[in-house]
């Protein structure tokens, strides 16, 4: 037995009211962040996207945000609150918000929701993610060329598909230009702990790595590289331009602005539909930051060329022949990885000498 609740009816009424509002050429957009906007990394970049929306649309788009929202019931409440306050479109910017977003989207059929990096959709719930592995292919290419010790250090957060894709992609492209290359992988088991990232980078450098790749967001590894002297690294999430005259030779940037602008625009002109977007370099969601002069001209030119072929779709970073770590075949000659397989990736490719922690 179900009661038609007071809440549902207010929600309906408000939902109708908001869709009516949308037609008078104004849109209210809510953002919910898992970290503080001052984290200088993941949440910072999402907030940059929000600022880009404000700049693009001026008074036509009003944005609000709530930061440092714990995943779970708090996230659901914050989104509900935004919807009740008349938001037309809500961006839930962390994987952990998935079920909360699904629940809220059910309660407010007239409000549009967008969830980053998840896999559940609904008529009013779209998902979006970036193909960071495309960018990592370019970084891997540079790293493979630049290393003299042939040891590349890689700092991972947790062993999940997103991170494994990055490691595999970087490894494949480093190996292509440097068959002797070896990856040393360290799992920090945290999304955010700058001191631990510093330790991890130091350990890798001490064990002979002269190139550091990182999948954690602080500049600590770059600072460690700078202190060590002859080590290079890459900016992660944001450009980390402050290390440009030092160890940072390039960067992989999360660029959410264009996507947010596009989606807000669609709500404004009434053409918003649910979607499953997985965009890469070609769409500008993944950017490669300026490659500095420390990288030789020819390597830089190759890296840019690789970036262009990936952007145009002519080349997919996961193209066969590729074997899994245990030697079994994954992709045959010329075969390109399916998105489904990439989304659930739980293995290393052949050649990586490390185990995925269980």
């Amino acid at each position: 037995m179900k009661f038609t609740s007071l809440l549902a009816s207010t929600a309906m009424a408000l939902g109708l009211a908001t869709s009516a509002m949308a037609q008078d050429d104004k849109v209210k957009v809510g953002f919910i962040y898992v970290g503080p906007i001052g984290d200088g990394g993941y949440t910072y970049e999402h907030n940059q996207g929000r600022l880009a929306v404000m700049e693009e649309f001026g008074d036509k788009a009003e944005t609000t945000y709530v930061e440092s929202v714990p995943e779970g019931p708090d996230a659901e409440r914050v989104m509900t609150q935004m919807a009740l306050d008349g938001a037309d479109l809500i961006f839930a910017t962390s994987f952990g918000f998935m079920d909360a977003t699904v629940n809220t989207a059910k309660k407010f059929p007239d409000v549009k929701f967008e969830h980053a990096t998840g896999y559940k959709t609904a008529p009013n719930l779209a998902i979006y993610n970036a193909r960071f592995y495309e960018g990592r292919a370019v970084l891997g290419h540079i790293a493979g060329n630049m290393t003299e010790s042939n040891i590349i250090g890689y700092i991972g957060s947790y062993p999940i598909p997103e991170v494994l894709r990055g490691i595999n992609s970087a490894y494949i492209h480093a190996k292509k230009v440097n068959p002797d290359v070896q990856f040393k992988i360290v799992w920090a088991y945290t999304w955010f702990d700058p001191a631990k990232e510093a330790d991890a980078a130091k350990v890798l450098i001490e064990q002979g790595a002269d190139v550091i790749l990182q999948h954690t967001d602080s500049t600590a590894p770059l600072a460690a590289a700078e202190a060590a002297g002859n080590v290079i690294g890459f900016g992660q999430a944001s450009d980390m331009a402050e290390y440009k005259d030092g160890p940072r030779v390039s960067s992989i940037i999360d660029n959410w602005g264009p996507y947010y602008i596009e989606r807000v625009g669609k709500v404004l002109d009434g053409t918003w539909e649910t979607a499953d977007t997985w965009a890469g370099i070609g769409d500008g969601m993944v950017q490669i930051g300026e490659i500095t002069d420390r990288v030789p001209e020819d390597v830089k030119a190759e890296a840019l060329a690789l970036m262009d072929t990936i952007a145009s779709g002519a080349y997919h970073p996961f193209t066969g022949p590729l074997n899994k770590q245990d030697g079994t075949q994954w992709l045959a000659e010329g075969e390109v990885a399916e998105d489904q397989a990439l989304l659930g990736m739980d293995f290393f490719v052949e050649g990586i000498d490390a185990e995925i922690p269980k």
């Binding site: 001052g38 984290d39 910072y44 040393k184 945290t190 990232e197 001490e206 600072a223 202190a227 185990e355």
Partner: protein, 306 residues
Amino acid sequence: MDLSAINPALLIASLMVAATPILLAAIGELVAERSGVLNLGVEGMMITGAVCGFVIAVESGSPWLGFAGAAAGGAALALLFALLTQVALANQVASGLALTLFGLGLSALIGQGYVGIKPPRFARLDIPVLGDLPVVGRLLFGHDPMLYLAIALVAGVWALLRFSRAGLILRAVGENHDAAHALGYKVVRIRILAILFGGACAGLGGAYISLVRVPQWTEGMTAGVGWIALALVVFASWKPWRVLLGAWLFGGITVLQLNLQAAGVAIPVEYLAMSPYVVTILVLVILSADKSRAPAALGRIFHASQ
């Protein structure tokens, strides 16, 4: 797996660096606890120190001024705790927890405009000949000045507690505040000073993270180090040199597990990460049978009721 890739000298050198923030915070907390005050707000004081140090270093261009500012910032927050617990006689556990909440918020407000900035560099001591010696050079002479200062602080606290009259009074206050009061010692004043010292040290520890180890400012960047410092004081059974040893052990476990990972050894990271705490509990159990134990008046409220 390639264990030969691990260089023991470098491992020890980096665990010394990794241990410094906890060491600084823990030695300060040790003094506070020896005076009978349990301040659970270490994390809040550390992050406040981290942001004050960072802001002042960036604005003045001098990391040394930054560290001074960090100590002042940490002490300022500690003063709040001192007012609450010593003057207003509030419960120490609750006040300490509230202090951490407050410090995390305050630091984020102060640091708003400082994300993505690189602080002035804090140079390593470069001792010409000694620093180039094999193994020991890097180990003993290749660090930054704050690291040595932290060790000197441990020695200073040890000497103070052990040999000086001030140390004796401090311990007396921590063991039995009523008796100390009866002897004419200013219990409240001594405790406030101990709390301020604890805050200043925690502030230095925080600034070591934001100016030396990471160096950058991001919200919440101490990521729980303050809590580890609390564990460490207990682990060390309130003895300064054991704090040093414990800090290196705690730091060592982190650095060692990262080293093992990098060398390709598959280890259960979560279980290794638990181990310092489990060891601390074991130490506590052993200590409770032993004579050396917590200051008897730890966490108790003192009110002179003459």
